[in-house]
Structure formats: structure tokens, C-alpha cells
């Protein structure tokens, strides 16, 4: 039941926050906080009970499962299951959820109850996506994430929120509906072969995919995930959505929503369609390398801090895509590690960018500068996370990117070389970000408040996590390795 609670607790907390929020703002914030704390507690208890890597094998794949009939007439079940991969991402969701809550504690003052309602619903949807094995339920959670995110953008967002919200929604929704068609196709193909009507991914994996069916259905899934990721030509929604969203929205978008795309590829696209995926792999790697380079160059040209961070996401998620389709186990493990680290660093960077905007009223780097002397703590934190994002050795992102490159290098030389050049670009944009905001002549005339105690606690927590992932990546990799081994594309 732990798994059901992970999803249900945020839903209930969201509803309560809305109802209580009509009376008192702080009640809404507290309710959301309590809900997420319960989720974090469950996650921690799951980590504690996590068996040693050796004890988990193909026969004993799931740490915890929940399998109940839901709409038996249509073969739809509530099938939640948790393995190392899910646990890692569910933990990320709980942590970043709390970060998002913390940064909106004082900055969101309008319609507080409704804000937390939407925040909790997005998180519940994301939790569901990371846990479910029933494809119908997966599609349901996939859609469930979108609507509250859209409202977070268009109600609490910045200047151009309307168009950014619509763009985000159309891109992701179109992808999601294509995936539903592919799910239905797979469902009926399976039924025609076995007579069994099911949406369970584990059973559907056995479906024989004749001729072009495998490719068509796989593309349905791939497009949905590639939009979310986002892979190179499908990215135009991302910079707008990330820039216009409120701080909490940007954190959730960059830190979590993008990961659902990568997760979908690893959990469903690869295992369900091994042959078609292998045929797509070269093209996916081309898109990945294009994304890595394009994202880095575009980030370099930005003036808006949030936009810059948004473009770096395209670049880093390009690495993830590269790792997923490289067909090497090291690369896949690196991709997963990078997903988590990117979530933490980008979440922190968006939180800091939001802090800068709250304090100075602008995100334009041209009118910023000299923050180091005014707000040393804010500046130091920004420096740390910028270094982490560019891949400073010793920090988690470096371990992830390095593993990806190592894995890719062993099998495909050219993509690895091209992607490695992007690491130089990333140094340039990360350092530019720091130099233009933190150093130089001090622009802000008014007294600016530095990071407070809450913000320092949150940031320190994130720093510790990234350091831990950078210094001891093996402990995490050990725990996801048994599960990644089962994925056909991952065995190099």
C-alpha cells in the first residue's frame, strides 16, 4: 500500500490545501508540507528496506508491488511497482517537491490554496508516472501531470504566460495522445495473438510485433517521450514554459517533468520494442548530439537567466537521450545518474534565479551584476550549482556525463566526440552566467536581502546530495544496475 499512498497523499493534501486555503494561507502551505513530508518519509522507509544489490535478480525484480483490478471489463488494472529506478526518481520527486514548496513559501501570495492544489496534483501525477506498470494508468497519470502544470504557468507565471502555457500544453498533449493510440494498438495486437485483453506492460512485452507494427507503435511512444525530454526538434515549448512559469513551476518542469520523458523511454520504449528501438537508435543519437550542441550554443546567447538555464536543460537531456540509446550499460547507468543530478542542480538553479527575480525584479543579466558583494550567500550558491551543471569533477553531474561518454565512446566514436565538445561550451555558459550576475559593477542600488535560513537549509541539502552522488556514484548505480540489466537495449 506504500505505493498507493505515495500517489494518494499528495492528492488528498492538494484537495485539503485548496479547501483550507480559502480560510488561511498558512494552513494551505502547512497541509502541502505535511503531505510531502509523509511522502518523503515513505521514500526513506523504502530506502532503508532496500535489499543489497545481490539479493535482487530478474526473478525478484520488484521491491514492492500493488496489483488490483480497476476496470476489469476493459482489462485495466491498478498495477504499481517499484524497483531501483522508480525509487530513485520517486525520491527525486519528493525532494524537489519540498524544494518547490519551500521557494514558494513566501513568494506566492496570490491564491495560495489553489496554487498548492495544483502543485500537489502535478506531484501526484509524476509519482504515478514513475510507479505504474499498467499502460492505461500510465497514460492517465501522464495526462494528469499536464493540466495542473498548465495552470501553474498561466495563473502564476510571468509576462508571456498565456502563450507559453498553450504551447507547452499542445506539444505535450499531442505527444501524449499519440502514445494512447500506440498503447491501444499494442493492446489489440496482443489481444489478437493471445486473446488476453490487458494493458499490463509486463505482459504486453511478450507481444510479437510483425512487420512495420513494431516501428509504428514504438514511434508513438517515442514521440510522446521525446517531446517531454525534449529531444532536439521537439523542444520549442521548453524555453518559453520554463521561463514564464513561476519558480516552483520551473523547478518541477525542469527537475521532474523532463525526467518522465527519459523514464518512459527506459521503462517502456526500450523493453516493449527492443528491435524497433535498436533500429531507431542511430537516429535518436543524431537527435541527441544535435540537442547537446544546440542547447549549449543557444544557452550561451541568452540574456534572461531562466532562459539560459532552460536551454542548458536541452543540452543535458541530450546527454541522457544519448546514454539511453547508446546500447551500452555504462551509458544507460550514466544517463539515469545524470537524470537525477540534473534534476537537483537545475531545480536549485531555478530556485536561485527565482530568488534573484524576487529580490531585484529582473531576470535580465544585462541589468544584473555585482551580487557577490551584496548577497554573498546567494552568489556562492549560484556559483556552486553553475559549476555542478557544467560538470565539475567530484559532483554528480560529472559522474553522469562521464559515464555516458565512456559508454558511448566504447561503441560509437563520433557521437562521443561531438558530445564531448559540448562540455566545453557548457563551461563557457556556466561561467558567463556567474560572471554577469555575480561579479562586475554592482547594479542594484537598494539594499538586497541575502538568502534566509530556510533557503540556506534547502540549498545545503541539495549540495550534500549532489556531492554524495558525485563522490559515491557507485552506491546508487549498484542499486539500479540489476534493473537496468533486464532492459534489452541496455546490455552492451
Amino acid at each position: 500500500m506504500n505505493l498507493a499512498f505515495l500517489v494518494l497523499v499528495p492528492l488528498i493534501a492538494g484537495l485539503l490545501a485548496w479547501l483550507l486555503g480559502r480560510k488561511s494561507d498558512s494552513a494551505a502551505r502547512l497541509t502541502a508540507f505535511v503531505g510531502l513530508s509523509i511522502d518523503l518519509g515513505i521514500v526513506i522507509s523504502l530506502w532503508v528496506r532496500f535489499p543489497r544489490a545481490a539479493a535482487v535478480g530478474p526473478g525478484n525484480r520488484w521491491l514492492e508491488q500493488l496489483d488490483l483490478p480497476w476496470i476489469p471489463q476493459l482489462g485495466i488494472r491498478v498495477h504499481l511497482a517499484l524497483d531501483g529506478l522508480s525509487l530513485l526518481l520517486v525520491s527525486l520527486t519528493a525532494v524537489l517537491g519540498l524544494v518547490a514548496l519551500a521557494v514558494s513559501w513566501s513568494s506566492v501570495q496570490k491564491r495560495v490554496g489553489l496554487f498548492h492544489f495544483h502543485l500537489m496534483f502535478v506531484l501526484a501525477g509524476i509519482m504515478g508516472v514513475f510507479l505504474t506498470l499498467d499502460l492505461f494508468l500510465f497514460a492517465l497519470f501522464w495526462e494528469l501531470m499536464l493540466v495542473p502544470t498548465y495552470f501553474l504557468i498561466v495563473i502564476w507565471g510571468h509576462e508571456n504566460r498565456q502563450s507559453a502555457g498553450i504551447k507547452f500544453f499542445l506539444f505535450t498533449q499531442a505527444g501524449g495522445l499519440l502514445m494512447i493510440l500506440a498503447i491501444l494498438g499494442l493492446h489489440f495486437l496482443h489481444a489478437s495473438q493471445t486473446g488476453e485483453y490487458t494493458f499490463d506492460a509486463l505482459r504486453l512485452a511478450a507481444t510479437h510485433l510483425p512487420g512495420r507494427w513494431g516501428m509504428l507503435l514504438m514511434l508513438g511512444f517515442f514521440l510522446a517521450f521525446a517531446v517531454k525530454l525534449p529531444a532536439f526538434p521537439l523542444h520549442p515549448w521548453l524555453p518559453d514554459a520554463h521561463t514564464e512559469a513561476p519558480t516552483a513551476g520551473s523547478i518541477i518542469l525542469a527537475g521532474l517533468l523532463l525526467k518522465t520523458g527519459a523514464y518512459g523511454l527506459i521503462r517502456f520504449a526500450l523493453p516493449l520494442f527492443p528491435q524497433a528501438s535498436a533500429r531507431l537508435a542511430p537516429w535518436a543519437m543524431v537527435l541527441a548530439v544535435a540537442g547537446v550542441i544546440y542547447g549549449g550554443l543557444a544557452a550561451f546567447g541568452q540574456r534572461d537567466i531562466k532562459r539560459l538555464i532552460a536551454y542548458t536543460s536541452i543540452s543535458h537531456l541530450g546527454f541522457v537521450l544519448l546514454g539511453v540509446y547508446a546500447g551500452s550499460r555504462a551509458a544507460l547507468e550514466g544517463a539515469v545518474l545524470l537524470m537525477v543530478c540534473h534534476g537537483l542542480t537545475t531545480g536549485a538553479l531555478f530556485a536561485l534565479a527565482g530568488g534573484i527575480q524576487d529580490r531585484l525584479g529582473t531576470r535580465d543579466m544585462a541589468s544584473l551584476g555585482g551580487l557577490w558583494s551584496v548577497t554573498p550567500r546567494l552568489a556562492a550558491m549560484t556559483l556552486f550549482f553553475a559549476l555542478a551543471a557544467m560538470g565539475l569533477p567530484g559532483l554528480g553531474n560529472f559522474a553522469g556525463e562521464f559515464l555516458v561518454l565512456l559508454g558511448v565512446f566504447a561503441v560509437h566514436l563520433l557521437p562521443a566526440l561531438l558530445a564531448a565538445t559540448a562540455m566545453i561550451v557548457s563551461v563557457v555558459y556556466a561561467l558567463t552566467l556567474v560572471r554577469r550576475t555575480m561579479f562586475g559593477p554592482s547594479r542594484p542600488a537598494a539594499a538586497v536581502v541575502d538568502l534566509g535560513a530556510t533557503e540556506m537549509i534547502v540549498m545545503s541539502g541539495l549540495i550534500l546530495l549532489i556531492l554524495y552522488l558525485g563522490l559515491f556514484p557507485q552506491t546508487v548505480i549498484d542499486r539500479i544496475r540489476p534493473f537496468l540489466q533486464i532492459i534489452p537495449g541496455g546490455i552492451g
Binding site: I71, Q73, L74, E143, F169, L177, I180, L184
Partner: protein, 480 residues
């Protein structure tokens, strides 16, 4: 006709008695309130009569009417909808002067017509039902007869409904010319030997007539005007009962007549479905009037439902049944809010009238938001499952192109549904100040809307009961 026949007709008989009672009461003493009470009581009693009718067993009452699970399922749906519309009407007319006895009488007759339509297995009862339904609506649409736009809409509806009836009658005449009988069943036996050109043309003309009533593209031209000018509860009634009853009829008709044997007719239906989905959603995009937007949205929804109709088999009608329930609930939610917004004044038509509603009336805004999100097909509301069920039905029949159009057009649809919902929550000055519109929502109407919203979310979370119920109800007609 024996006793058990009468029992199985109980809901219809109760409604007829209620209609007569409204007339007689008006002769004794004119009172709008009395008429509304009699109507409510009649609809409630008819609902209570359904279990008795069900217990009398599935059967054909004469050659005209079948009272089977299919009929009873839709009878309950139609009666419950009529009950809600009647309650909303009480709120709607309360703030307006004038006597309304005939309004409630017409609500009753329209419901009678709709129930006859869903139970018909014979062209005579089909035409009878459709005519009772249409004639009631001629008056209801133009009910605000002092307004020019209401008269215009009424005229349009009258002329187009007349034309569609002519198509229908001519179609039936052609079928009769070839088959020599007017029962649905008899046509099959002759179709089995290969449908003749005349009969196929007849069914085609019949589809045209039916297309008008369901407002499918290209027979949809009356819809936006009627939606804009008719009283809000009447619009809710047209969008649900009138369209739903005819779709139900088509489900049975297509299965009984084995429409699927005629490739050309199926292809024609497919084209109509695609046109309705695309045109409905595209034309809704740029509307500034909420009612016109909903009119085009309802056109699109009828297009979606046609996918299930074309899919046929057992899955198609089941999906259509489920979707109709969800669509009814969502439409009633949305129009319930429109009615309450229009209490005592105006038409509550412009989208501006609903801007920032959430800060004035959070409850109403929540009902409207959930209704709209369900129409858009967003999870946790029944709409998501409904749309998924339609896609499932389409895919099970291998109709992937139609399913793809459904998907594409509902992405377009999201645009305007979300625009409306986002408008409810904007921070700008509300379109109407609280003091400007009088009248309270009314406890009863508020409660009803609350129940509808709860039902809509319940179906999104726990659809198993309804799915099972529909499967049982339809088994008799569609096998499986």
C-alpha cells in the same frame, strides 16, 4: 396488449399522465409553480416506474416499441437529465416575470418523444418520437418570443427540422418501397439478400434527416444560433436529451439493420464523423460567446460518438453509452452554471460574463471547470475514460484513421476548453460585479450541480459499475 405490457410502458404512461395533469391544472388555476411541481413529480414517478418495467422482462410491446435493457438504460438517463433540466428551469424562471405552465408541459412532451425514440423498433414509432421531440423544441427554442434573435433561431430550427423530417420521411418511403414493411427487423431479412439501391438510398436519406437532429456537419447550421438564443435550460436539454436520444436510436438501428454491410453508408458516416470532429473543434476556437463555443463543441462530441457508432460490435455501443453518460453530466454541469449565472438577468453568453468567476463564486467555478475539463477529456474526470473508451472501440474495429482524427481534433479542442477554464481563474476584474446580478443560486440547484460534479469525478475514478451496467443493458441488443 396485456397487463405486463402496460407495466413495461409504465415510465411513458406516467409521463403522459403528468403532461395531462399539467394541462388540467392550468385549466383549474393557472400557476407556474404548480406546473413545475407536477412536472418534477411526474419525472420522479416515471423514474420510480423503471424498476417495475425492468422486472416485467425484456420484451416487445407491439411491433412498435421494445422495452429491453437498452431502452431502460437510456430511459433512466433521459429521465434523470430531464429532472435536472426541470430543476434548473425552476431557478432560471424564478427571477423572471410571466407564466410558464406551457414551458413545463413542453419539457414533458419532449421527454416523452425522446423516450419513444430510444425504444422504437419500427419506422412509425421512430417518426412519431422524433416529431414529438421536434415540435416541442420548436416552441421551446423560440420561447423568449419577444426577442428577435430567439425568433430567428426558432425559425431556423423550424425550417431545418422540417426539411430534415422531409428527408427522413422520404427515406422511409424508399425503404418501404423496396422492403414492403416498416419494422427495423424486416429490413435486415431483405438486406441479407443484398441491399437494393433504393433501400440503400432510403437509409442514406434517413441518415441525413438524423444528421440534422444530431447537428452533424454539414447539417449543423442551426446549432450555434439555437444555442445562443434559446433559454439556457432549453439549450442544456437540446444538447443532451435531443441529441443523445437520436444517437441511441442510431446505435440500435445500425445494429438491427446491419448497416455495416453497406460499405458506402459506412464510408459516408466516416466522412461525416471526421467533418464534425474537425469543423466543430476548429470553429469553436475563435468564439467569444460561450454558448456558440459550446454549440460547436457539441458538434464535435457528436462526431466523436459517431466513431463508436461506426465501430459497432459490442464495444462500440458500450463506449457510446458510457460517453453519452459522461457527456450528459459534463454538459449539464456547464449549462447549470450558465443557468445560475443568468438567473434574473441576461443570457450569460459572452465569455466575459464568466471571467474571474472563481473569486466570486468558487463553487460555481469549480463545477464549470470540472465540466469543461471533462469535455476536454482530462483525467480524474469521466471525460478522459470516455474518450479512451471511444478510442478503444475505434481501435477494436481497426478504425485507426478515425481514431487518429479523434485524437488530433481533441488536441485542438483543448485550446478553447482550457481558455475558458483559465478565464475562470484570471485575476482581472470580473466581467460582472457581484451587485449587478441578482438572485441567489438556489440551494436545490446548487446541490444538484454538486451531485453532478461528484458523479463526473466518481466516474473518472471508479467507472467499473457503470461499465458493467452498460454491458448488461446492451447485451440483449448487441450480443456479446
Amino acid at each position: 396488449m396485456n397487463m405486463s405490457d402496460l407495466v413495461s410502458l409504465l415510465p411513458l404512461l406516467v409521463l403522459v399522465a403528468a403532461a395531462l395533469a399539467v394541462l388540467v391544472a392550468a385549466v383549474v388555476r393557472r400557476s407556474t409553480q404548480a406546473a413545475s411541481w407536477i412536472t418534477l413529480a411526474g419525472l420522479g414517478a416515471a423514474l420510480l416506474g423503471v424498476p417495475a418495467a425492468a422486472r416485467s422482462g425484456a420484451m416487445r410491446v407491439s411491433d412498435l416499441i421494445a422495452v429491453d435493457g437498452f431502452t431502460l438504460f437510456f430511459t433512466v438517463l433521459l429521465l434523470a437529465t430531464a429532472l435536472v433540466v426541470c430543476l434548473l428551469s425552476v431557478s432560471y424562471w424564478r427571477g423572471r416575470r410571466g407564466r410558464r405552465e406551457e414551458y413545463y408541459l413542453l419539457l414533458l412532451t419532449a421527454t416523452i418523444g425522446a423516450i419513444v425514440v430510444v425504444s422504437s423498433i419500427h419506422y412509425i414509432s421512430l417518426i412519431l418520437g422524433i416529431e414529438i421531440l421536434s415540435v416541442s423544441f420548436f416552441v421551446l427554442v423560440a420561447y423568449r418570443r419577444h426577442k428577435a434573435e430567439a425568433l430567428e433561431a426558432g425559425m431556423k430550427y423550424l425550417v431545418l427540422a422540417g426539411v430534415s423530417t422531409a428527408f427522413l420521411l422520404f427515406g422511409v418511403a424508399l425503404i418501404y418501397a423496396e422492403v414492403g414493411s416498416l419494422g427495423f427487423q424486416d429490413v435486415v431479412t431483405s438486406m441479407a439478400t443484398g441491399p437494393g439501391l433504393v433501400a440503400t438510398a432510403g437509409v442514406g436519406l434517413l441518415l441525413v434527416g438524423v444528421g440534422f437532429k444530431m447537428s452533424l456537419v454539414p447539417f449543423h447550421l442551426w446549432t450555434p444560433d439555437v444555442f445562443q438564443a434559446a433559454p439556457a435550460p432549453v439549450v442544456a436539454f437540446i444538447a443532451t436529451v435531443s441529441k443523445g436520444a437520436i444517437l441511441a436510436l442510431m446505435l440500435r438501428y445500425a445494429a438491427v439493420v446491419a448497416l455495416y454491410q453497406s460499405r458506402s453508408l459506412v464510408a459516408a458516416l466516416g466522412v461525416i464523423s471526421v467533418l464534425s470532429m474537425l469543423a466543430g473543434n476548429l470553429l469553436a476556437l475563435r468564439q467569444r460567446s460561450l454558448r456558440r463555443l459550446l454549440a460547436y463543441s457539441s458538434i464535435a462530441h457528436m462526431g466523436y460518438l459517431l466513431v463508436a457508432l461506426i465501430a459497432g460490435g459490442t464495444r462500440g455501443p458500450e463506449a457510446a453509452g458510457f460517453y453519452l453518460v459522461v457527456y450528459f453530466l459534463a454538459t449539464l454541469c456547464v449549462f447549470g452554471v450558465v443557468v445560475l449565472r443568468a438567473v434574473g438577468r441576461g443570457q450569460a453568453d459572452d465569455l466575459e460574463d464568466f471571467r474571474a468567476l472563481a473569486w466570486e463564486r468558487p463553487g460555481l467555478a469549480a463545477v464549470m471547470a470540472i465540466g469543461m475539463l471533462s469535455l476536454a477529456g482530462i483525467p480524474i474526470t469521466g471525460g478522459f475514460l470516455g474518450k479512451f473508451y471511444l478510442l478503444l472501440a475505434g481501435a477494436s474495429a481497426g478504425l485507426y484513421p478515425l481514431a487518429a482524427v479523434l485524437v488530433a481534433s481533441s488536441v485542438i479542442g483543448l485550446f478553447y476548453y482550457l481558455r475558458v477554464v483559465a478565464g475562470l481563474f484570471t485575476s482581472e476584474e470580473p466581467g460582472i460585479r457581484r451587485s449587478e446580478w441578482g438572485g441567489s443560486a438556489g440551494t436545490v440547484s446548487g446541490l444538484v450541480l454538486g451531485l453532478l460534479t461528484a458523479a463526473l469525478t466518481f466516474l473518472g475514478v471508479y467507472p467499473r459499475l457503470l461499465v458493467g451496467l452498460i454491458a448488461v443493458a446492451m447485451r440483449g441488443v448487441f450480443g456479446g
